[in-house]
């Protein structure tokens, strides 16, 4: 990190600031492409964690969070801003990181910043006929400007792809058609039982072979990030649960950790242990549901019923302590909302051997099935370097051999006190992504087993002020949720409401990877690949 800091000092235009393992580099907008290229190609920042659009009031800006796969604990934060609010423009970084192409569309949708040389500058969540850019501070929320639409978006609006390119110093605006005139296009979703939510895929087919996939998002875009700006910090926690509702506890944990680090407090050890156990129980519940749904997509309803049966056991444990089944609402800033139930430890200890037994049954029931193996093996290959470039984190990235587990990279809560294995497979196929989830359940059980008897006595929450105000600054916190790295970015200006909140959704990049994995395969394989990536759509749309 020091060497990088000294190297950066040679760049005249860059302003560098270091805080622990995080290095913040602020550059003028005309130099951002050069700086990003240098960081990516020379300094090994090969993983684009997130792009955060910002409205500073007078300026519109972008924050890039970069990470290295070799030393993943180091984060480089590249900041830039442009004063032009009428026609804000930045150079696209999609040729450096594949993940940038989908993130930049999101920034364009919310802030209207056009990325030059980006091949696809359509809106990503909102419809093409939406008026205004909702996350700008001067956005007009008048509902008459954007009434509830009565008809679906026109196909031309979905297929006309505008882009701005820079050639010979001149900006050229152009529009091209996404599909050829005679292409055979099938709509998957938004209401489709195997889409795991309201995702809309437009798939161009050649017979049964997939030529192109165009994902359309936004059918459950609730504008959570904008709502957060008018909510207080404890209120935001409730919205974070409803992003990826299957890993609600982990998402809430991320927001709590982000606020706690900003406030300079730490949850008491008892809370940290219980949070870790809750996280792992949630992970088990999520993987069981993911497994069940994947098997159901292949036609095995029994597996779904088995998965849900075991998931109910986890939910019972949650319910007894926290009162909620799915939305546990147990983490608060500073610790936990309530102490654990007297039965908690006993019930968790009963659950561990039960789950181990059932895990064997699940393997017996489905993993060995020759039809299932035929549909999962040698299909849906994702290479490791592609996974990194696309930002495919979590079990799906680890199935391609990428070590990206935040619990190992930067242990939070009680993860540094336990011994567990980061499950890595190198196949990168649908089957690897399937089996890795079942293996992770076993590792989660191991973590819980080590913690459950050692929950320290003491307070379950640190005292916080009645009105929580975060000190001025930018804060970023990642946790490992059931689908990958879930990140929270909070910009505070010292008020009781945040100035900007951005959630890094692990599922967005998973869907972004779909077109790279599935192109050229059969349309039936697309269902299996989607199920093995296990995305949750409300997490993408926010």
């Amino acid at each position: 990190m020091e060497t990088l800091e000294t190297k950066l000092a040679t760049f005249e235009y860059a302003v560098t600031e270091r805080n622990g393992n995080t290095l913040t580099v602020t550059v003028p907008s005309e130099h951002v492409y050069d700086m990003a290229t240098w960081l990516c190609n020379s300094e090994g920042f090969d993983f684009l964690v997130d792009i955060v659009g910002m409205d500073y009031g007078d300026m519109l800006g972008v924050i890039y969070y970069l990470s290295q796969t070799k030393q993943p604990q180091y984060i480089a934060v590249l900041k830039t801003a442009t004063a032009d609010r009428e026609n804000p423009e930045l150079l696209s970084l999609h040729d450096l990181w594949d993940a940038a192409s989908i993130y930049e569309r999101e920034v364009y949708d919310f802030f209207g910043i056009v990325f030059i040389n980006h091949p696809d500058m359509r809106r990503i969540f909102l419809r093409a006929d939406w008026n205004g850019f909702p996350l700008r501070k001067d956005y007009d929320p008048n509902p008459e400007l954007n009434p509830i639409p009565v008809r679906n978006q026109l196909l031309s609006q979905m297929e006309d792809v505008p882009s701005v390119t820079l050639s010979m110093g001149q900006e050229v605006e152009s529009t091209h058609k996404l599909f050829e005139k005679d292409e055979y296009i099938v709509n998957f979703g938004p209401q489709h039982p195997a889409m795991h939510g309201v995702l809309h895929l437009r798939v161009s087919l050649d017979g049964e072979d997939i030529r192109k996939i165009d994902p359309n998002f936004g059918y459950i875009h609730r504008g959570i990030e904008k709502i957060c700006e008018s909510y207080t910090y404890p209120q935001i926690l409730h919205l974070s649960d409803r992003l990826d509702y299957l890993s609600g506890t982990m998402n809430r944990h991320a927001v709590c950790l982000c606020c706690e680090r900003a406030l300079g407090i730490e949850a008491p050890p008892r809370a940290q242990y219980v949070r870790t156990i809750f996280d792992e129980l949630t992970r088990i519940a999520s993987h069981l549901l993911g497994w069940g749904c994947m098997c159901m997509d292949m036609g095995s309803i029994t597996a779904f019923v088995y998965g849900m049966r075991d998931r109910e056991k986890v939910l019972d444990i949650f319910e007894e302590t926290a009162g909620g089944r799915m939305m546990v609402n147990h983490n608060v800033i500073g610790g936990l909302a309530s102490d654990i139930h007297p039965n908690f430890q006993r019930r968790v200890k009963e659950f561990i051997p039960y789950m181990r037994k059932m895990l064997k049954e699940h393997h017996l029931l489905f993993t060995g099935n020759p039809i299932a193996r035929g549909r999962m093996e040698n299909i849906g290959f994702l290479a490791k370097d592609k996974a990194i470039s696309l930002g495919v984190t979590g079990p799906s990235g680890r199935a391609s051999g990428w070590h990206n587990d935040i619990r190992k990279i930067e242990p939070y809560a009680a993860y540094n006190k336990v011994d567990f294995e980061e499950v890595i497979r190198t196949g990168g196929e649908t089957f690897d992504r399937y089996i890795i989830r079942l293996d992770e359940i076993e590792q989660s059980l191991r973590i819980i087993e080590q913690l459950i008897d050692n929950i320290p006595e003491g307070a379950f929450a640190e005292k916080t002020k009645a009105v929580i105000r975060l000190p001025e600054g930018d804060y970023f916190q990642c946790v490992e949720n059931a689908r990958g790295q879930f990140g929270v970015h909070i910009t505070s200006r010292g008020d009781k409401n945040p100035y900007r909140v951005k959630f890094r959704s692990p599922c967005l990049t998973l869907v972004g990877a779909l077109k790279d994995i599935a192109s050229g395969l059969k349309v039936a394989d697309l269902i299996m690949i989607g199920a093995s990536l296990d995305y949750v759509i409300p997490c993408i749309d926010r």
Partner: protein
């Protein structure tokens, strides 16, 4: 004996020895039945509508439709613990044309509104809507958003509201039973008029249900 009527619409039938009004006066039927039962014949007199509704209310096919969190609890209702097969509701249909009821599980946003309207339009009558969770009822925690409908009843009529965020599976079961009750008391031959929704109106006026 109080006057009862069979609810079939009978019009302009001419039988020489029977007055037209007698078709709606069933006293003689009751007397017949009494006489038959006295002589040991097993006869039951009931309304055809009740009989059909008994069948309908115990075989309601929901559409597999969910947008967010409530959908997971809906899946729990379908799974082993709560198991809505006990009520005859387990045949979840993937096509709206085969479904009787749509569970609106989750938030409905602007972009989804025309899709949901189309799904509702595609369902065959008689059709029912259950709004599951606070989002479908009134926008829920996202009420202040720029992109969220303040309740699904802005675009389609709702029969049963199930509160909760998300509702427990037991609550969804209770909502289902309420709908079953509603179906049972309906007159199958005089179903209330479904509101007229035009999917592609000429002008771009916002949705209005009549």
């Amino acid at each position: 004996m109080e006057e009862r009527s069979i609810d079939m619409e009978v019009k302009n039938i001419r039988i020489p020895n029977m007055k037209y009004e007698d078709f709606n006066d069933n006293e003689y039927l009751e007397q017949y039945v009494d006489e038959l039962q006295r002589n040991g014949v097993n006869v039951v007199l009931g309304r055809l509508s009740d009989f059909i509704n008994w069948g309908r209310s115990n075989s309601v096919w929901p559409l597999t439709f969910a947008t967010s969190c409530c959908g997971i609890e809906f899946m729990c209702v379908a799974a082993a613990r709560t198991d809505f097969a006990r009520f005859g509701w387990e045949v979840t249909r993937n096509s709206p044309r085969q479904a009787d009821v749509i569970f609106v599980c989750g938030t409905i946003v602007h972009k989804m509104a025309p899709v949901l309207t189309r799904l509702y339009e595609q369902m065959a009558e008689p059709k029912y809507v259950i709004a599951v969770g606070s989002c479908a009822i009134g926008g829920g925690p996202f009420k202040s958003s720029y992109h969220v409908l303040k309740g699904v009843n802005e675009i389609i009529p709702v029969d049963v509201y199930v509160p909760g965020c998300p509702p427990r599976p037991d609550a969804i079961l209770y909502g289902m039973m309420q709908l079953a009750r509603k179906i049972k008391v309906q007159n199958f031959f005089k179903l209330p008029d479904q509101p007229d929704i035009t999917e592609h109106p000429k002008d771009d006026a916002p949705h209005k249900t009549k």
